[in-house]
Symmetry: C2
Subunit: 400 residues, 2 copies
Amino acid sequence: MLSSHLPWAGRDVRGTGVFFFPNARLTRCPPRLPRGAGAVSLYLAPSLPQAPPSGGLYNARLIPACACKPAHTSLPASVLGSCSSLRMASSGLQTKKDDSHNGHFVQPTNPNVAAMQEDVLYHFHLSTSTHDLPAMFGDVKFVCIGGSPTRMEAFIKDMAKELGLDHPGAEYPNICVGTDRYVMFKVGPVLSLSHGIGIPSTSIMLHELIKLLYHARCSDVTVIRIGTSGGIGLEPGSVVITRQAMDPSFKPVFEQMVLGKRVVHRVHLDEQLAQELMQCGAELGEFPTVLGDTMCTSDFYEGQGRLDGALCSYSEKDKQEYLWAAHAAGIRNIEMECSVLAFMCGACGLQVAVVCVTLLNRLEGDQVNSPHEVLAEYQQRPQRLVSYFIKKRLAAAGHP
Amino acid sequence: MLSSHLPWAGRDVRGTGVFFFPNARLTRCPPRLPRGAGAVSLYLAPSLPQAPPSGGLYNARLIPACACKPAHTSLPASVLGSCSSLRMASSGLQTKKDDSHNGHFVQPTNPNVAAMQEDVLYHFHLSTSTHDLPAMFGDVKFVCIGGSPTRMEAFIKDMAKELGLDHPGAEYPNICVGTDRYVMFKVGPVLSLSHGIGIPSTSIMLHELIKLLYHARCSDVTVIRIGTSGGIGLEPGSVVITRQAMDPSFKPVFEQMVLGKRVVHRVHLDEQLAQELMQCGAELGEFPTVLGDTMCTSDFYEGQGRLDGALCSYSEKDKQEYLWAAHAAGIRNIEMECSVLAFMCGACGLQVAVVCVTLLNRLEGDQVNSPHEVLAEYQQRPQRLVSYFIKKRLAAAGHP
């Protein structure tokens, strides 16, 4: 085993040994780690939030034997030869054996995370030093997210009933009760979580969710957004399973500003998962379900071509041309979060899908003015579809 | 009066007459309207959500005499000469005389708004057909906004006490109780309202707030964001009054995508208002208050140069260089909403300021890990300052 070649170097972070290689010259390892008993995966950590004990610039993370399939390590000899001056200390929280890890681990692409003494998930009001995240979240397999806190609470209650985990007087407390930024609920392997409106709000939630799932040593996690949207050329109440997340110029990209510079990422959603969800929609047969591209915008009014905002700098004709061009490009609905979801989940080893109901047909109007009870029923549709999907997946995996 | 030259053309929308000029060829009027008794302001309305009764392409809005100072209209003769075929009908809700209108009206730049039969403010769960907005909001002079719903509720309770409008058993119900997207509270001339996290969430709130204030015929409204931020080179707990809202490359601009095309707007905040708030901070003398530029980002982690997100594509050195460059450019704090606020409020005739406390010094770290009670006290500082400012303004205007 590789570890026998190395004195211990870093800290044991709840069962993951963290090593520092002061003089190593590493390149980033593939996201899918070599998993041996005590296998070491190495990441380029050009900097650390706090100086590591050895003062080195690079770190490695030991995958605990209990969570790994036997396999040979594949570390380059040039790396192994440069490791030196290593020691190890234990953290306060103890490693727990966990048989649930049998596939792809959730893995931040940021190597600094593994080296942090404490990780405060500020917007969740959770922390690695105050909460036993593996015990709280280690069994999570499905994360369902949506903009509205109320909807996500309703979803977990429905999910509990569907999974037979509900009982009279059962309560589903908000895990993020210490903050009002997001709400989070859990029942069995299902986490339900709000993300607010728009990419920035969703991005914060995803950064902290991915780190939470990593700290909890979760594997094989599927994230599904269950949301609302404006449809293009669809009957209101239709449910769109997103094939591709498109930007406002109909490209499958996510753009962000990093240190003041524009960075553009190609994004993609899981095709097989989308097909699986389409099959669920067909089996349910309760409402129209279509596979289509989804446009992600950073504004509900001008950004989506509405004529009824406080500002509007174009004509009805301009709007219609834009929406018809979107339709011709394969876009069937518009919302405000899918591209960041596709980018971040894809980068960190999470299967991801987007399932949104359309509240109106944007080719026919802008205002969401259907009766409250009609909109309320529409909003339940993605939840019913995803609930059906989760039950089906669990049944296929041998769960009752 | 101009109206004597014209047969009525449109609909009376709660005291504002809407006219249609089928053959007019107008250019947009200046944002500050000519205000005569029965003065007409004209807008270019290249398209309307619904075909107007006269089938025309252009509309004008009559400022009711009760809300106007006597003045001559300044309509170009070429416009007046083209008006024809006009008629008028009354709406269900009646115009109420209101002496509070003595200055600048809130005015959407979108001319379509004046012509809408009904305006559903979907994310507030309010509508012009179901709520008497002038009666509910006509006296609003200050709108205080912040990300956190809980904080905005606490603010209105404090404001009620400060204004002597509190009494035992008083309740401050959430006006947006029909939705969980935003919360809204009101006491006297002060509206308190949450905007969630980030530009998209804030943009939706602002579109609907501006239309609400317009429908309510509000004038001389000041909007102040009371928020949290990361400081650059400041002692945590410092309060920054924003001089300029900067983008991530240190330019005073707001960028948006409109119909798939990138549009960049120059933004500015009210300098005199910022100085007035600085003076209030000095008079209070309870905490450090500084005037500085504020950077607005669309991401809390990579977008602000943090090293502790799930993704991080740069080094500690890169981060430090970026933050020091921001400091050198005059930026003293970073948050996620100020640029859209400066742009939209500026465009629609609202005075606007941004007052944010810094929760940490980003030159020294990334994690927000001060004790809860310390952070809670920090978050009250912008509220105390703005509460003092409002009392001072009201006293200067002769209110008790």
